[in-house]
Symmetry: C2
Subunit: 526 residues, 2 copies
């Protein structure tokens, strides 16, 4: 058994002064695991935020290279976690061993990606306009700009990625890379996992001599509200439901000092299957699409929840094949009882809707999720029916048939913001339906061609974002290296003596980074 004491992580120490306790559960059996977690009190939430605030001046003052070493040490600590850890995560989440091993590699990979970003140095956003003392009618002063971390960041992890979007996940990595200490709210679905990962982060922080309070973690239900409202917190990262994310946005906006919230919330990720592709490889598409819908029990933010095609005998046959394939899919265990309850309610709402017909899937009962397929009338989209706009989290999808290209465009215009949209299309389709692309660009963060949205590559070019309600701010991404920009803000120095400037802005360019100098990008010293 791993050593799990269930105390909150505050300023490099552990604290459990409260009396409310919580258990984590075996996701498959529902039984409580023998670990007790002590919910943070109001005073502990305050202490965690204060610890992060105390760490901020020292942490942001560290060189980018030192922060990169910290992230790499976290990566190494994650990679070093043993099989008992993997077994613990699978027990708390019902996710298979191979998936958790892969997700662990992704999580340490994210840390290393941000270390690369720190060493590349473009995140500094260094800009220099040198003085022009002879300029007419007025001389120009010397102005230099770079970016610093905004301050302590509160992070709320996701249930569905217990590693990659949780304690040491993408938001934590981006915030730490930006020089922002983190207060992490442990997800109730995998608290023992959270503790093991937090221990790994703390070991890395000690190894690399980071300020105490650079990473803090609190347990408990309802502690998130006090955290988001705490004056020391300067930004929020969240992955979860629309209701939960919006509640945090509203709290953050109502603070005496409003702060930005980057919430990744709800997306139904439309997949458009166009005629030529359907004709050439309809069966293959059906198999791939069903596999994408049920993969990981459909518990992905980018799960394809809407399949659209243009009415034709071929699309009718495609829908029949989708139904037959979906009927063959086995039930799967979900992340936890709450997730299964939500899925059951979502499926029930679709079953009861007069504009929706049930195409495939066994009755939803018992302790596992039954894959389902529905068909909805396109008028539901035109009329803004909320049932077709909000994600049903789990292995289900809805087919929509449109009469023609014009109706397809109208349907896409009716959609809310999405993380992804996918075009399954041949060259002739793309020529014929070329106007779809600009339309989709306005609706989503990522447009895919002939792929399925459930794989989210972590790299420089990924966007895991999109207009509301996919996220609360379309200008960010929560996957990939651009995520660091959410937690940075520019600061400008006017006529600052060279010795007092940050290294990124000094004449000698000691970091050797690319800088925008008098309107031109260059690496040369001044």
């Amino acid at each position: 058994m791993p050593k799990i004491i269930g105390h909150n992580y505050i300023g490099g120490a552990r604290s459990a002064v409260g009396t409310v306790t919580l258990h984590s559960h075996d996701a498959s059996s529902g039984e409580a695991l023998p670990f007790v977690f002590t919910q943070a009190t109001a005073a502990e939430v305050d202490a965690a935020a204060q610890a992060a605030a105390s760490a901020y001046p020292a942490f942001r003052a560290l060189s980018a290279n030192r922060r990169a070493e910290f992230l790499e040490a976290i990566a190494a600590q994650l990679d070093a976690l043993d099989d008992d850890f993997i077994a613990l995560v699978t027990r708390e989440t019902a996710l298979p061993t191979g998936r958790i091993q892969g997700e662990r590699a992704r999580t340490s990979g994210q840390m290393r990606l941000f270390a690369q970003v720190l060493r590349r140095g473009d995140f500094h956003g260094a800009r220099i306009d040198r003085a022009l003392p002879e300029r007419q009618p007025l001389p120009r002063v010397d102005l230099r700009q770079y970016r610093i971390g905004v301050g302590p960041v509160a992070v709320f992890g996701a249930s569905n990625f217990p590693l990659a979007f949780s304690t040491a996940g993408g938001d934590t990595a981006a915030a730490l890379a930006a020089g922002c200490p983190v207060v992490f709210k442990a997800h109730s679905g995998h608290m023992a996992t959270a503790e093991q990962v937090a221990d790994a982060i703390i070991r890395a922080a000690e190894q690399t001599d980071m300020p105490k309070g650079v990473f803090n973690m609190i347990y408990g239900a309802g502690v998130g509200e006090a955290l988001v409202k705490h004056p020391a917190i300067q930004a929020v990262g969240f992955t979860g439901s629309l209701a939960g994310g919006r509640a945090l946005c509203d709290m953050a906006a109502a603070r005496p000092q409003p702060i930005p919230v980057f919430a990744e919330m709800s997306s139904i990720n439309p997949v458009l299957v166009l005629p030529e592709a359907l004709q050439l490889r309809g069966e293959k598409i059906a198999r791939e699409l069903v596999a994408s819908v049920v993969q990981g029990c459909g518990q992905f933010c980018t799960n394809p929840g809407l399949v659209m095609g243009i009415a034709s005998p071929r699309f009718t046959a495609f829908t029949a094949l989708l139904s037959a394939l979906m009927n063959e899919q086995p039930a799967q265990t979900m992340l936890n009882a709450g997730t299964l309850r939500s899925y059951r309610n979502g499926v029930q709402a679709l079953l009861e809707h007069p504009g929706v017909s049930h195409l495939a899937g066994k009755p939803q009962q018992g302790n596992q999720a039954q894959p389902q397929l529905f068909k909805a009338d396109v008028s539901l989209l035109f009329n803004g029916d909320p049932l077709l706009q909000e994600e049903v989290f789990g292995p289900t999808s809805v087919v929509i048939e449109v009469a023609d290209n014009a109706e397809l465009q109208q349907a896409l215009r009716s959609l809310h913001g999405q993380l992804t949209a996918t075009l399954i299309a041949e060259a002739g389709d793309l020529q014929r339906y070329g106007e779809l692309l600009p339309l989709l660009e306005q609706k989503v963060g990522r447009v895919l061609f002939n792929g399925y949205p459930t794989g989210v590559e972590v790299g420089d070019a990924m966007v895991h974002g999109g207009p509301y309600p996919a996220t609360s701010d379309a200008r960010g991404t929560s996957v990939g290296s651009l995520a660091i920009e959410r937690f940075l803000r520019p600061v400008c120095y006017q006529n600052c003596p060279d010795a007092l400037l940050p290294e990124a802005l000094q004449n000698a360019n000691p970091l050797g980074i690319s800088r925008l100098v008098d309107g031109h990008h260059q690496r040369t010293p001044l």
Copy 2:
């Protein structure tokens, strides 16, 4: 007399279906000018937002070069406005002719700066991660990312910069550069000026064949609320009071789809006068500081509203000199009656505060603003007294004396967010008080050394921003080329055929821009 018809600008046409009319006024005499403006009706606000939404797909699809030509045409139209125009602006604002001529040059200069940004191409944020089909355990797909305009932007201009922060001002320039059509709410303080500038923009739009609706303008009191709440509007730019800006933020956050608001609001811009500088050039500093406080009747966002120094006989003498100099400053006419009323109230509140003493200035009466100097006890800062945190807009400043370095640091920690902070310091001061700089960086958008904050250079490196309440989002700037980033969001393409990619992301790199390819910045074609 210029031709002013006072109709709203909607989709390239003029509209005045309402019955509520407004007049602009001669700022010096208070008399109504012979121009009638028709307040936009709810239907007209809707039509203006819809016109911007209709223009968005075509406008954002234009090449950056075409948008640059539009901005340059606006600049040329502004430069071509004649002496009658300058006379009109001075009449509506009581700002002197030389200032308005300079501001006009600044306004057209801003347009040209953003044209440069568009041609430089780094605003695209182009990132390419090429496919790695052989990668283990999973192949990597081809991912490409660039940034597009967020959609129609609502802009609220400032009273104090009738050109540079108004109709064709910085926010409008940044939004248009980003590919976002604009709906501008004309400021009630200079509606005739707004009309002449809007005409110039429309002429430029027609010359360069921009889509109708790329720029719209509405008149009226209270029309801003409907604009910010309109579903087509995707972001807001605002310069003005804390109360006004916060109200817009709250409205935007409460929308079904929340949108970002970039409001530049309230700053008291502390100036720290350190001992060695005081000893070497105290008299010069006093003269420069008083000049900065009363410049343009103190009507600058960066007006130095707080002067801080360490108690000493020399600082006492400095304060006395400041008082004597302030007593010599003439009264000046403010922008309009509302501004004068606010100034009178602000001065009165300072006079009545038991912790504040009046050092200099004639009784505030009549139609002009009397320059004033006050002294406040530092305990007011420690106790968070709101009077010392919010800007009194006009020619006034407050001196605060601290006992020592520790008290100075405590005072700075007590400050809210600011646009600027200034260190008046010699080398010895900077050595002795070196810890002040990291503290100030956390509080402000721009730190100045031995200058005065009232000049705001427009360039790549300027930051006119800062933590709340200086602005509503410290991650932006409303002056300088970085301002474009507020109105851009990333979009990602996965396995997109080269011919369908935007030029910024095509293999051949037809724009010749620098791109982040597989983690390295390069301009070479792929």
